[in-house]
Amino acid sequence: MTFRVLVRVMPRAGLLDPEGQAVERALTELGFSEAAAVRMGRAVELSIEAGSAADAKRRAHAMCERLLANPVTEDFLVEVVAS
Protein backbone atom coordinates (compact mmCIF):
# COMPACT_ATOMS: atom_id res chain seq x y z
CA MET A 1 0.00 0.00 0.00
CA THR A 2 1.04 3.59 -0.59
CA PHE A 3 0.78 6.01 2.28
CA ARG A 4 1.00 9.76 2.04
CA VAL A 5 3.15 10.98 4.88
CA LEU A 6 3.62 14.49 6.25
CA VAL A 7 6.84 15.26 8.09
CA ARG A 8 7.15 18.46 10.07
CA VAL A 9 10.63 19.57 11.09
CA MET A 10 10.85 22.36 13.65
CA PRO A 11 13.74 24.21 15.29
CA ARG A 12 14.25 22.82 18.77
CA ALA A 13 12.48 24.80 21.51
CA GLY A 14 14.84 27.21 23.20
CA LEU A 15 17.04 27.71 20.14
CA LEU A 16 17.00 31.15 18.57
CA ASP A 17 14.66 31.20 15.57
CA PRO A 18 15.36 34.52 13.83
CA GLU A 19 13.09 33.66 10.91
CA GLY A 20 10.15 33.04 13.25
CA GLN A 21 10.89 36.31 15.04
CA ALA A 22 10.98 38.26 11.77
CA VAL A 23 7.65 36.77 10.64
CA GLU A 24 6.14 37.56 14.03
CA ARG A 25 7.26 41.20 13.75
CA ALA A 26 5.79 41.42 10.25
CA LEU A 27 2.47 39.98 11.45
CA THR A 28 2.38 42.50 14.30
CA GLU A 29 3.06 45.36 11.88
CA LEU A 30 0.20 44.15 9.69
CA GLY A 31 -2.13 44.46 12.68
CA PHE A 32 -2.17 40.79 13.75
CA SER A 33 -1.01 41.72 17.22
CA GLU A 34 -2.53 38.52 18.63
CA ALA A 35 0.12 36.40 16.84
CA ALA A 36 2.83 35.25 19.24
CA ALA A 37 5.60 32.69 19.58
CA VAL A 38 5.93 32.19 15.79
CA ARG A 39 8.30 29.35 14.89
CA MET A 40 9.39 28.57 11.35
CA GLY A 41 10.09 25.02 10.30
CA ARG A 42 9.94 22.85 7.23
CA ALA A 43 7.28 20.49 5.90
CA VAL A 44 8.08 17.46 3.74
CA GLU A 45 5.34 15.46 2.02
CA LEU A 46 6.13 12.09 0.58
CA SER A 47 4.55 8.81 -0.49
CA ILE A 48 5.82 5.64 1.14
CA GLU A 49 5.16 2.10 -0.03
CA ALA A 50 4.65 0.01 3.12
CA GLY A 51 2.63 -2.86 4.58
CA SER A 52 0.83 -0.72 7.13
CA ALA A 53 0.48 2.86 8.30
CA ALA A 54 2.65 2.04 11.31
CA ASP A 55 5.39 0.72 8.98
CA ALA A 56 5.20 3.83 6.81
CA LYS A 57 5.55 5.94 9.93
CA ARG A 58 8.56 3.95 11.10
CA ARG A 59 10.29 4.39 7.73
CA ALA A 60 9.59 8.13 7.75
CA HIS A 61 11.01 8.28 11.26
CA ALA A 62 14.21 6.63 10.05
CA MET A 63 14.40 9.11 7.13
CA CYS A 64 14.15 11.99 9.60
CA GLU A 65 16.94 10.60 11.74
CA ARG A 66 19.23 10.04 8.74
CA LEU A 67 18.52 13.12 6.65
CA LEU A 68 15.36 15.17 6.96
CA ALA A 69 16.08 16.62 10.42
CA ASN A 70 19.30 17.70 12.08
CA PRO A 71 19.46 15.87 15.42
CA VAL A 72 21.46 18.76 16.96
CA THR A 73 18.98 21.55 16.30
CA GLU A 74 15.65 20.18 15.13
CA ASP A 75 12.71 18.06 16.26
CA PHE A 76 10.27 16.32 13.95
CA LEU A 77 6.73 15.00 13.81
CA VAL A 78 5.55 12.28 11.42
CA GLU A 79 1.92 11.93 10.42
CA VAL A 80 0.28 9.55 7.95
CA VAL A 81 -2.25 11.78 6.19
CA ALA A 82 -3.74 9.43 3.56
CA SER A 83 -3.43 5.94 2.16
Partner: protein, 228 residues
Protein backbone atom coordinates in the same frame (compact mmCIF):
# COMPACT_ATOMS: atom_id res chain seq x y z
CA UNK B 1 56.05 17.05 -1.29
CA UNK B 2 52.87 17.60 0.67
CA UNK B 3 49.78 16.68 -1.32
CA UNK B 4 46.26 17.98 -0.84
CA UNK B 5 42.88 17.03 -2.23
CA UNK B 6 40.34 19.81 -2.59
CA UNK B 7 36.89 18.25 -2.92
CA UNK B 8 34.53 19.67 -5.52
CA UNK B 9 30.81 19.32 -4.86
CA UNK B 10 28.15 20.58 -7.24
CA UNK B 11 27.88 24.16 -6.01
CA UNK B 12 31.39 24.53 -4.58
CA UNK B 13 32.74 27.92 -5.60
CA UNK B 14 35.89 28.61 -3.57
CA UNK B 15 37.97 25.64 -4.71
CA UNK B 16 40.17 27.53 -7.19
CA UNK B 17 41.44 30.12 -4.73
CA UNK B 18 41.77 27.41 -2.07
CA UNK B 19 43.99 25.44 -4.46
CA UNK B 20 45.99 28.57 -5.21
CA UNK B 21 46.56 29.27 -1.50
CA UNK B 22 47.69 25.66 -0.97
CA UNK B 23 50.05 25.79 -3.96
CA UNK B 24 51.50 29.09 -2.71
CA UNK B 25 52.37 27.29 0.53
CA UNK B 26 54.19 24.61 -1.47
CA UNK B 27 51.43 22.00 -1.40
CA UNK B 28 50.64 20.03 -4.57
CA UNK B 29 46.88 20.20 -5.02
CA UNK B 30 44.50 17.86 -6.79
CA UNK B 31 40.80 18.56 -7.27
CA UNK B 32 38.63 15.55 -6.54
CA UNK B 33 35.03 15.34 -7.77
CA UNK B 34 32.60 14.36 -5.04
CA UNK B 35 31.45 11.21 -6.90
CA UNK B 36 35.02 9.92 -6.76
CA UNK B 37 35.51 7.57 -3.81
CA UNK B 38 39.32 7.75 -4.03
CA UNK B 39 41.32 10.64 -2.54
CA UNK B 40 44.58 9.20 -3.88
CA UNK B 41 46.49 8.90 -0.62
CA UNK B 42 46.88 12.64 -0.09
CA UNK B 43 48.22 14.15 3.14
CA UNK B 44 45.30 16.47 3.67
CA UNK B 45 41.76 17.10 2.50
CA UNK B 46 40.10 20.47 2.14
CA UNK B 47 36.33 20.89 1.83
CA UNK B 48 36.00 24.32 0.21
CA UNK B 49 33.36 27.00 0.51
CA UNK B 50 30.32 27.34 -1.69
CA UNK B 51 26.75 26.12 -1.76
CA UNK B 52 26.94 22.37 -2.24
CA UNK B 53 23.64 21.06 -3.62
CA UNK B 54 22.27 24.59 -3.52
CA UNK B 55 22.14 24.38 0.29
CA UNK B 56 18.93 22.39 -0.20
CA UNK B 57 17.37 20.98 2.98
CA UNK B 58 20.20 22.33 5.18
CA UNK B 59 23.69 23.56 4.28
CA UNK B 60 25.90 20.52 3.84
CA UNK B 61 23.09 18.03 4.55
CA UNK B 62 23.17 16.34 1.15
CA UNK B 63 26.90 16.67 0.43
CA UNK B 64 27.63 14.43 3.37
CA UNK B 65 26.26 11.43 1.44
CA UNK B 66 28.63 11.96 -1.49
CA UNK B 67 30.82 8.88 -2.17
CA UNK B 68 33.99 10.88 -1.47
CA UNK B 69 32.91 11.48 2.13
CA UNK B 70 33.53 7.86 3.11
CA UNK B 71 37.16 8.28 1.99
CA UNK B 72 37.36 11.57 3.90
CA UNK B 73 36.00 9.82 7.02
CA UNK B 74 38.62 7.09 6.75
CA UNK B 75 41.40 9.62 6.15
CA UNK B 76 40.28 11.53 9.28
CA UNK B 77 39.95 8.35 11.34
CA UNK B 78 43.58 7.58 10.55
CA UNK B 79 44.62 10.99 11.93
CA UNK B 80 44.76 12.68 8.52
CA UNK B 81 44.27 16.44 8.36
CA UNK B 82 40.87 17.70 7.21
CA UNK B 83 40.01 21.38 6.79
CA UNK B 84 36.46 22.60 6.18
CA UNK B 85 36.03 26.21 5.13
CA UNK B 86 32.54 27.77 5.38
CA UNK B 87 30.32 25.29 3.48
CA UNK B 88 33.07 22.74 4.20
CA UNK B 89 32.62 23.41 7.94
CA UNK B 90 28.86 22.94 7.53
CA UNK B 91 29.48 19.61 5.78
CA UNK B 92 31.83 18.45 8.56
CA UNK B 93 29.14 19.18 11.16
CA UNK B 94 26.42 17.46 9.12
CA UNK B 95 28.72 14.47 8.67
CA UNK B 96 29.36 14.28 12.41
CA UNK B 97 33.13 14.68 11.98
CA UNK B 98 32.73 17.85 14.05
CA UNK B 99 30.03 18.40 16.70
CA UNK B 100 27.24 20.98 16.62
CA UNK B 101 25.47 22.65 13.72
CA UNK B 102 25.52 25.91 11.77
CA UNK B 103 22.20 27.70 11.75
CA UNK B 104 20.67 30.71 10.05
CA UNK B 105 22.45 33.96 10.99
CA UNK B 106 20.73 35.69 13.91
CA UNK B 107 20.30 38.84 11.79
CA UNK B 108 18.78 36.76 8.95
CA UNK B 109 20.90 38.48 6.30
CA UNK B 110 23.79 37.00 4.35
CA UNK B 111 26.91 38.61 5.83
CA UNK B 112 29.88 39.27 3.54
CA UNK B 113 32.60 41.40 5.11
CA UNK B 114 35.96 41.21 6.87
CA UNK B 115 35.76 40.36 10.57
CA UNK B 116 38.36 40.23 13.31
CA UNK B 117 38.97 36.82 14.81
CA UNK B 118 41.33 35.50 17.45
CA UNK B 119 43.30 32.27 17.12
CA UNK B 120 42.47 30.25 20.24
CA UNK B 121 44.08 26.92 19.44
CA UNK B 122 47.42 26.56 17.70
CA UNK B 123 47.89 22.82 18.24
CA UNK B 124 46.16 21.87 14.99
CA UNK B 125 47.73 21.19 11.57
CA UNK B 126 46.10 24.37 10.26
CA UNK B 127 46.92 26.92 12.95
CA UNK B 128 50.40 26.01 14.17
CA UNK B 129 51.98 28.93 12.29
CA UNK B 130 50.04 31.43 14.41
CA UNK B 131 50.65 32.62 17.96
CA UNK B 132 47.90 31.76 20.41
CA UNK B 133 45.75 34.87 20.83
CA UNK B 134 46.82 36.33 17.47
CA UNK B 135 44.18 38.58 15.91
CA UNK B 136 43.48 38.14 12.21
CA UNK B 137 41.22 39.95 9.78
CA UNK B 138 39.44 37.35 7.66
CA UNK B 139 36.42 37.72 5.38
CA UNK B 140 33.19 35.90 6.12
CA UNK B 141 30.49 35.28 3.50
CA UNK B 142 27.61 33.17 4.75
CA UNK B 143 23.92 33.08 5.58
CA UNK B 144 24.17 30.15 7.96
CA UNK B 145 27.13 30.53 10.28
CA UNK B 146 25.60 30.64 13.73
CA UNK B 147 27.25 27.80 15.59
CA UNK B 148 24.93 25.95 17.96
CA UNK B 149 25.49 22.89 20.12
CA UNK B 150 24.00 21.41 23.27
CA UNK B 151 25.23 22.79 26.59
CA UNK B 152 27.10 19.53 27.17
CA UNK B 153 28.91 19.73 23.82
CA UNK B 154 29.76 23.40 24.36
CA UNK B 155 31.33 22.63 27.73
CA UNK B 156 33.26 19.77 26.21
CA UNK B 157 34.55 21.97 23.37
CA UNK B 158 35.85 24.50 25.89
CA UNK B 159 37.26 21.86 28.25
CA UNK B 160 39.11 20.08 25.44
CA UNK B 161 40.35 23.36 24.00
CA UNK B 162 38.57 22.73 20.70
CA UNK B 163 37.58 26.30 19.88
CA UNK B 164 40.11 27.19 17.18
CA UNK B 165 38.85 30.64 16.15
CA UNK B 166 36.65 33.10 17.99
CA UNK B 167 35.20 36.37 16.75
CA UNK B 168 36.72 39.26 18.68
CA UNK B 169 34.04 40.60 21.11
CA UNK B 170 31.66 42.89 19.23
CA UNK B 171 32.59 41.37 15.84
CA UNK B 172 30.32 38.31 15.90
CA UNK B 173 28.54 38.53 12.51
CA UNK B 174 25.92 35.82 13.03
CA UNK B 175 25.01 35.40 16.71
CA UNK B 176 27.25 32.36 17.04
CA UNK B 177 27.38 30.73 20.47
CA UNK B 178 30.32 31.95 22.56
CA UNK B 179 31.57 33.92 19.51
CA UNK B 180 32.73 30.63 17.96
CA UNK B 181 34.08 31.03 14.41
CA UNK B 182 35.82 27.67 14.13
CA UNK B 183 36.35 24.43 16.02
CA UNK B 184 38.37 21.24 15.89
CA UNK B 185 37.92 17.70 17.13
CA UNK B 186 39.76 16.81 20.36
CA UNK B 187 42.80 15.44 18.49
CA UNK B 188 42.95 18.61 16.40
CA UNK B 189 43.34 16.95 12.98
CA UNK B 190 39.83 18.00 11.85
CA UNK B 191 39.24 21.75 11.72
CA UNK B 192 36.22 23.69 10.48
CA UNK B 193 35.97 27.48 10.29
CA UNK B 194 33.41 29.90 8.85
CA UNK B 195 35.82 32.65 7.64
CA UNK B 196 37.66 32.34 4.30
CA UNK B 197 41.46 32.42 4.79
CA UNK B 198 41.99 31.50 1.12
CA UNK B 199 40.61 34.89 0.11
CA UNK B 200 43.33 36.75 2.01
CA UNK B 201 46.33 34.53 1.48
CA UNK B 202 48.64 36.77 -0.52
CA UNK B 203 49.97 40.31 -0.20
CA UNK B 204 48.61 41.35 -3.61
CA UNK B 205 45.11 41.01 -2.13
CA UNK B 206 45.91 43.64 0.48
CA UNK B 207 45.86 41.16 3.35
CA UNK B 208 47.71 37.91 3.84
CA UNK B 209 46.40 37.04 7.31
CA UNK B 210 44.93 33.79 5.95
CA UNK B 211 48.16 32.41 4.51
CA UNK B 212 49.18 30.95 7.87
CA UNK B 213 46.51 28.22 7.67
CA UNK B 214 48.13 26.84 4.54
CA UNK B 215 51.70 27.40 5.72
CA UNK B 216 50.81 25.58 8.96
CA UNK B 217 49.66 22.45 7.23
CA UNK B 218 52.63 22.44 4.85
CA UNK B 219 55.08 22.37 7.75
CA UNK B 220 52.91 19.96 9.76
CA UNK B 221 53.05 17.32 7.04
CA UNK B 222 56.79 17.92 6.52
CA UNK B 223 57.31 17.16 10.23
CA UNK B 224 55.07 14.07 10.00
CA UNK B 225 57.00 12.77 7.01
CA UNK B 226 60.31 13.51 8.69
CA UNK B 227 61.41 15.82 5.88
CA UNK B 228 63.42 18.85 6.93
Amino acid sequence: MTRAAVIRFPGSNCETETGRALEAAGIATTFVWHRDADIRGVDLVVLPGGFSYGDYLRSGAIARFSPVMEAVRQHAAGGGAVFGICNGFQILCETGLLPGALMRNAGLTFVSRPVRVRVERTTTPFTSAYEEGAELVLPVAHGEGRFEASEEVRQQLEAEHCVVLRYVPGENPNGSTADIAGISNAAGNIVGIMPHPERVAEAALGNSDGAGFFRSVASWTRVLKGVA
